[in-house]
C-alpha cells in the first residue's frame, strides 16, 4: 500500500486540479467539483464582505440613541440587505457549496458529483441571483426585512421588492440543485466498502441538509412568486383588503425558512464532528447517534415553523403543538453537543486552529441552542418576541455556530484545498479575536432584548446606550478577526510551506490523496476496508511499531 501511494504521489505531483489549465475558460466552464468549490468560495466571500459592510453600518448607527448616521428608512434597508445577503448569499451556500462541493465526492471515493454540469449550473444560478440582487440594491434596495412579510412587501413598501425577491428565488434553485446533486451522489456513488455506517459524519450532515434544501426551498420559491405576482398585478393572495390571509404568507414562508435555519447549521455540525474527532485522536463517541440526530433535526425541523407566529394570530393550540415540537428538536441538537464533548473526554487533544474554532462552536452553539428553547416557550416569547433577545439567539447559532464551523472547516481543509500550509500563530490569534469579538457583540444583545429593546429600530432610549456601545465595540473586534485570514491565507498561497497529503494524521479518504488532489481525485477507485474514524487502531499500530 505504502509504496503504491508513493508512486501515485510522484505521478501526480506535477498535475493537480489547480494547475490543470490556467485559462479563464478552464475555470468558468469547469465541471470539476473542486474548481466549482473554489468559484463558490470566492463568490461567497464577496457577499460575506458586502453583508459585513451592512452589519457594520447597522452597528455604527446604533452607537448613539438618536437616528443620526442613517435615515430610519435607510436603516431599514441596511438591516434588510444585511439579512438577505448573509442568509441567501452567504450562510446557505457557505459550507455545502464550498467545503461540501469539494469534499463530498472525495470523502465517498467518487471522481465527481453525479451531475457535474448541473453543479456548474448551480454556481451560475448563484451568480445570476447575486447580480440581480446587486441591481436591486443599487436601484433602491428593499426595506421589508429579510422575511418579505405581506401586505407590507406586496402593497406598501417603496423598495425594489420584486427584484430582490427574484434574487432570493433564483438563489433558491441554486441551492436545490446542489442538494439534489449531493443526495444522488451519496446514494449511488460511494466507493466499494463504504457502507452507510462508515460514512463520515460530514457526509451525514450534508445528506440531512440536502433533504431540507430539496423539500423546503421550492415552497419558499412559490411563496415569493405569489408575493411578487400580488405586488406586480395588484391581486390579493395575501392582502386582507382583497380577502387574502397575510398569516398564510407567514406559514408558507416559515415552512421553508425555519428548516432553512437547519440548512444554516447542519453542515457546520458535520464539520465540527470531523474536527473534534481528528484533534482528539479518538474515534467519535456515539457515531450512530450523531448521524441519526442530523436526520432527526432535518425531519423535526419541518414541523416547528409555527413558533415564529405565536403573536401573529395563530391559534393557541397550534402554538402549543409547535412549541412542544420545538422543544423536541433541542434533543438531537443536544445529543450532538454531548457526543462531541464525550469524544474529547480523555482524548489527546491538540489545540490547533481548527480545534479552537470547533471548541468555540460547541460553546457558542450551546448558548444559541439553549436560548432557542427559551424563545420556543410561548409565555416568554410574548415578552421577547421581536426584541434583541431573538437577534442575539439566532446570531449565536448562525455566526457563533455556522460561521465558526465554516472558518474551522476552511482552516482544517485549507492544506488539502490549496496544497499550502498557513501561519498557525496568526490563525490562532484570528480564532481568539473572533471568539472574543463575537461574545462582546452579541452577549449584550441578550440583555438588551430582555430589557425590552425591540429589533429593527434605528433609535432607542438612552439607557440602552452602554450595551449598544459594547456591542459595536465587539463588532469591531469581530471584524478584525475576520479580516486577518485575508492576509495570512494570501500569504499561505504565495509563500506557504507545501502541505503534505495528511498534515494532521487524520482519517478519511480525502487525506489519502495528494494535496491538492488531482483532477480525477482517485486514479483508481478506492476500496474501504476500515471502520470510520479508526483513530484508536492507528494509535495501537504506532505503539507496535
Amino acid at each position: 500500500m505504502t509504496d503504491h501511494s508513493a508512486e501515485v504521489r510522484h505521478h501526480v505531483e506535477e498535475l493537480n486540479y489547480l494547475n490543470n489549465g490556467w485559462s479563464w475558460k478552464s475555470w468558468l466552464l469547469t465541471v470539476d467539483h473542486k474548481r466549482i468549490a473554489i468559484l463558490y468560495l470566492i463568490s461567497i466571500t464577496v457577499f460575506f464582505v458586502v453583508g459585513g459592510i451592512f452589519a457594520g453600518l447597522v452597528r455604527l448607527e446604533l452607537l448613539t440613541p438618536q437616528s443620526d448616521l442613517l435615515e430610519p428608512e435607510t436603516y431599514n434597508k441596511v438591516f434588510t440587505l444585511h439579512g438577505i445577503v448573509m442568509i441567501f448569499f452567504f450562510l446557505i451556500p457557505s459550507v455545502p457549496a464550498t467545503l461540501g462541493n469539494f469534499l463530498v465526492p472525495i470523502m465517498i471515493g467518487a471522481k465527481d458529483l453525479a451531475f457535474p454540469k448541473i453543479n456548474l449550473l448551480s454556481w451560475y444560478l448563484y451568480v445570476i441571483a447575486g447580480l440581480v440582487g446587486i441591481v436591486g440594491i443599487i436601484t433602491g434596495g428593499v426595506e421589508t426585512g429579510w422575511t418579505f412579510y405581506t401586505p407590507y412587501s406586496s402593497t406598501y413598501s417603496n423598495g425594489n421588492v420584486v427584484t430582490v425577491a427574484m434574487a432570493a428565488f433564483i438563489a433558491g434553485f441554486s441551492s436545490i440543485l446542489t442538494g439534489l446533486n449531493f443526495i444522488v451522489t451519496i446514494h449511488k456513488m460511494r466507493a466499494p466498502g463504504l457502507t452507510w455506517g462508515r460514512l463520515p459524519l460530514f457526509i451525514w450532515a450534508h445528506y440531512a441538509t440536502s433533504l431540507i434544501q430539496l423539500l423546503g426551498t421550492p415552497v419558499l420559491a412559490i411563496t415569493l412568486v405569489l408575493m411578487m405576482v400580488e405586488r406586480a398585478f395588484r391581486v390579493g393572495f395575501f392582502d386582507p383588503a382583497l380577502g387574502g390571509d397575510p398569516v398564510l404568507f407567514q406559514h408558507l414562508f416559515w415552512f421553508y425558512s425555519h428548516p432553512a435555519v437547519y440548512i444554516m447549521i447542519l453542515p457546520g455540525m458535520g464539520v465540527i464532528s470531523e474536527i473534534v474527532t481528528c484533534f482528539s485522536k479518538k474515534s467519535v463517541f456515539g457515531y450512530p447517534f450523531i448521524a441519526g440526530s442530523s436526520l432527526a433535526i432535518a425531519i423535526l425541523g419541518f414541523f416547528v415553523w409555527g413558533h415564529h407566529m405565536y403573536v401573529a394570530g395563530q391559534s393557541t393550540y397550534a402554538s402549543l403543538v409547535f412549541s412542544l415540537i420545538t422543544f423536541a428538536v433541542a434533543v438531537p441538537s443536544a445529543v450532538k453537543v454531548f457526543n462531541w464533548t464525550a469524544t474529547m473526554y480523555k482524548g489527546s487533544i491538540r489545540y490547533e486552529t481548527p480545534m479552537l474554532y470547533a471548541m468555540g462552536f460547541i460553546g457558542l452553539f450551546t448558548i444559541g441552542g439553549v436560548t432557542g428553547v427559551v424563545c420556543a416557550t410561548m409565555g416568554i416569547d410574548l415578552h421577547i418576541h421581536d426584541t434583541y433577545f431573538i437577534v442575539a439567539h439566532f446570531h449565536y447559532v448562525m455566526v457563533g455556530g455556522m460561521v465558526m464551523a465554516f472558518m474551522g472547516g476552511l482552516h482544517f481543509w485549507w492544506p488539502k484545498i490549496t496544497g499550502k500550509m498557513y501561519d498557525e500563530n496568526w490563525a490562532k490569534l484570528s480564532a481568539a479575536l473572533v471568539f472574543v469579538g463575537f461574545n462582546l457583540t452579541f452577549f449584550p444583545q441578550f440583555i438588551l432584548g430582555y430589557l425590552g429593546m425591540p429589533r429593527r429600530y434605528a433609535a432607542y432610549p438612552e439607557e440602552f446606550q452602554v450595551l449598544h456601545v459594547l456591542s459595536t465595540a465587539g463588532a469591531t473586534v469581530l471584524a478584525a478577526g475576520y479580516l486577518l485570514p485575508a492576509f495570512y491565507f494570501t500569504d499561505s498561497i504565495l509563500r506557504g510551506k507545501k502541505a503534505p497529503a495528511n498534515p494532521y494524521n487524520a482519517k478519511g479518504l480525502e487525506w489519502q490523496i495528494p494535496s491538492p488532489p488531482p483532477t480525477e481525485n482517485f486514479l483508481t477507485t478506492p476500496v474501504v476496508t476500515e471502520e470510520v474514524y479508526a483513530y484508536a487502531e492507528a494509535k495501537e499500530e504506532k505503539a507496535l511499531v
Partner: protein, 222 residues
C-alpha cells in the same frame, strides 16, 4: 493509509461511450439519472404544494364563493384538455417503450405525437385565458364579477391563474425538453442499452400531467 486498497475491477470495464467520466459504469449512471429526476419531482411536488395549501385554506374560508366561481369555468374545454394530456402520457410511455426496444422510427413518431398533444393543450388553454380576459375574470384592478361575492371569487381566480399558469409554464418547458429529445432521437442517440434520457423526460412529462389531473377537478368541477 490502510483503508484504500487499489481496485483493479473497474479498470477492466472499458468505459462505454455514453457513460460520463464520473460514473464507474452504465448501471451507476442509469440509477443516478433516475434518482435525480425522482428527487427533482419531489421538489416540484413541494413547489405546487404551496399553491395547493393556499387553495385548501381559501376553499375552507370561502366554500360558497368557490362553488359559484367554478361554474364560470369552461368545463368542456377543461375536460377536452384532460383527455388530450392523458393521451399524451400514453404516447410518452410508448416513446419510452420504443426506445427500450430500439424501434427508432416509432420513437421519433411518439415524441412528435406527444409534442403535438402538448401544443394542443396549450392552444386550448390560450383560448380559455382569452375568454376569461374578455369576461373581466382576470384578477386585478379590471376584475368584474356581476353576481355577489366578487372579493372572494377573485381569490379563486388568483389561484386559478397562478396554478394553471405555473402548470402551463411547466408544459412549455416540457415542450422544450421534448424538442431536445426529438433532435437526439433523430440523431439515433438512443438504444436498448441507453434510453435513460427518454425515460427521465417521460417521468417529467407524466408528472406535469398528474398535476393537471388534480387541477381539473379542484378548479373546474367542485
Amino acid at each position: 493509509m490502510s483503508d484504500a486498497h487499489v481496485a483493479t475491477v473497474d479498470q477492466a470495464h472499458a468505459h462505454e461511450a455514453h457513460v460520463a467520466h464520473q460514473f464507474v459504469n452504465a448501471r451507476q449512471q442509469y440509477e443516478s439519472g433516475n434518482l435525480g429526476m425522482w428527487l427533482f419531482l419531489q421538489t416540484e411536488i413541494m413547489f405546487f404544494g404551496g399553491m395547493f395549501a393556499a387553495y385548501g385554506v381559501y376553499r375552507a374560508w370561502y366554500p360558497e364563493a368557490f362553488k359559484i366561481a367554478s361554474t364560470a369555468t369552461n368545463v368542456p374545454l377543461g375536460a377536452f384538455n384532460t383527455v388530450v394530456l392523458i393521451v399524451s402520457s400514453l404516447t410518452m410511455a410508448l416513446a419510452v417503450q420504443s426506445a427500450q426496444l430500439g424501434k427508432q422510427k416509432r420513437l421519433v413518431w411518439m415524441i412528435i405525437l406527444t409534442m403535438l398533444f402538448g401544443a394542443a393543450f396549450l392552444g386550448v388553454k390560450a383560448i380559455e385565458y382569452t375568454e376569461k380576459w374578455h369576461h373581466h375574470h382576470v384578477p386585478g384592478p379590471n376584475f368584474i364579477w356581476e353576481k355577489e361575492g366578487g372579493r372572494e371569487v377573485q381569490i379563486l381566480y388568483c389561484l386559478y391563474f397562478a396554478m394553471t399558469g405555473m402548470h402551463a409554464l411547466h408544459m412549455v418547458i416540457g415542450l422544450g425538453i421534448m424538442t431536445w429529445l426529438l433532435i437526439a432521437a433523430l440523431k439515433g442517440r438512443f438504444s436498448p442499452s441507453y434510453y435513460n434520457p427518454v425515460e427521465i423526460c417521460g417521468l417529467y412529462w407524466h408528472f406535469v400531467d398528474i398535476v393537471w389531473i388534480f387541477l381539473f377537478p379542484l378548479l373546474y368541477l367542485i
